[in-house]
Symmetry: C2
Subunit: 223 residues, 2 copies
């Protein structure tokens, strides 16, 4: 297979595109292009209007928001198989956050206007869009509850536990983003993140490794 | 007009139903029923599967989440013209939060299965659903940024400023929910909320009234 065909074959298996169907996949991917982007590359800037929709094949992307005072945070981290950012593309509204590449990332881009034109006439694509937006909303609700009700140690345990789950039960969790990006995602300082990881290790809930952690029992992390 | 017709006439003007169109409105509302609910009534419980979709005609509803330890918070407050909770209805998944009536509320309920059946074949309803979900996602992102980057006084100023905006430039903002519900929504204690309101008054940005606040200049609140 050519690299392009290989990427298309990968994307076809995503739940979003399974719902959207073969006709839509062919139409959208015919006009798409794929890039390998280095760490710290910026996919789009807060305040810009979307030009393309991004499909994340490999690597991790952080949504980085800036407030009036110039302070910054990471709103969410997206991994392989995710689509960013449908809300801005659907509404044709400026992005509420920038997207920064946190680890080397391979990204397929679909022109935003083509996506909207296809959405305007395709019921399966509209269903896929509604389902993905509903799932992303639940991610954000979960984070708001996390920030309001759970302490640093509980938040870190759930974050690591979710990575185990994404990687289908793997006992080794690789945290390839910078510690500062993970800390910002969890609403804490990098020092608090380090202390929470050490506390979880002291309790036997995980063991720190050079590139992440090893988990003996996922249920001990709150899952 | 009968009360039922009056509610239907009101709902027809919501952007969601303008996009969904007359045929869908007729189908969905034919099977709907409307109730007036007292403060503290519970529309649904966290963990339940959705039976109906709720359209909020009057009053305010709080999404109340409970964490493992039994602690509770308000994830979001919805006002007149809002629809709760599409994500759970679309995905047929248990609610991530309970919905509690914060002020007397009038609510129209549409059977969830009827909504999903109509969604399965109506492109306009799928578009309306995608747009509403995209907008709700942006509300949650805004709140995450608020919690991570803005101090209590800034959060309170933006909350009051948004109420002015919703009420089309009214200088008097009525905060009819309990102070504890607003404080939880803003991720602070009721005491911190009181101090922030007093600080904003001392700076001339608002004047506290028995049931809310009076705003001289909305732009001074960060808008």
């Amino acid at each position: 297979m050519t690299p392009t065909n290989r990427h298309a074959a990968q994307i076809e298996h995503w739940p979003f595109f399974q719902t959207a169907g073969a006709t839509v996949i062919t139409e959208l991917l015919a006009a798409s292009f794929t890039q390998l982007l280095p760490r710290n590359a910026v996919l789009f800037e807060q305040g810009e209007e979307p030009q393309v929709l991004h499909l994340l094949l490999e690597g991790r992307i952080g949504l980085q928001a800036r407030a009036e005072a110039g302070t910054r945070t990471i709103v969410e981290i997206f991994g392989p198989g995710e689509i960013v950012l449908l809300p801005a593309v659907v509404l044709s509204l400026p992005y509420l956050a920038s997207a920064v590449v946190l680890t080397e990332a391979r990204v397929t881009m679909i022109p935003a206007q083509l996506f909207r034109d296809t959405l305007a006439r395709s019921l399966p694509l509209a269903h896929a869009t509604a389902e993905l937006l509903a799932r992303h909303w639940r991610l954000m609700v979960d984070q708001v509850v996390d920030l309001k009700l759970r302490d640093a140690e509980q938040r870190v345990a759930r974050f690591v536990g979710r990575r185990v789950s994404e990687e289908e039960g793997a006992a080794n969790v690789i945290l390839s983003e910078s510690r500062s990006a993970i800390a910002a995602r969890l609403g804490m300082t990098p020092e608090t993140l380090s202390r929470a990881l050490a506390a979880l290790e002291a309790k036997g809930k995980l063991r720190r490794t050079p590139d992440g952690a090893t988990i003996a029992d996922r249920t001990a992390l709150g899952f």
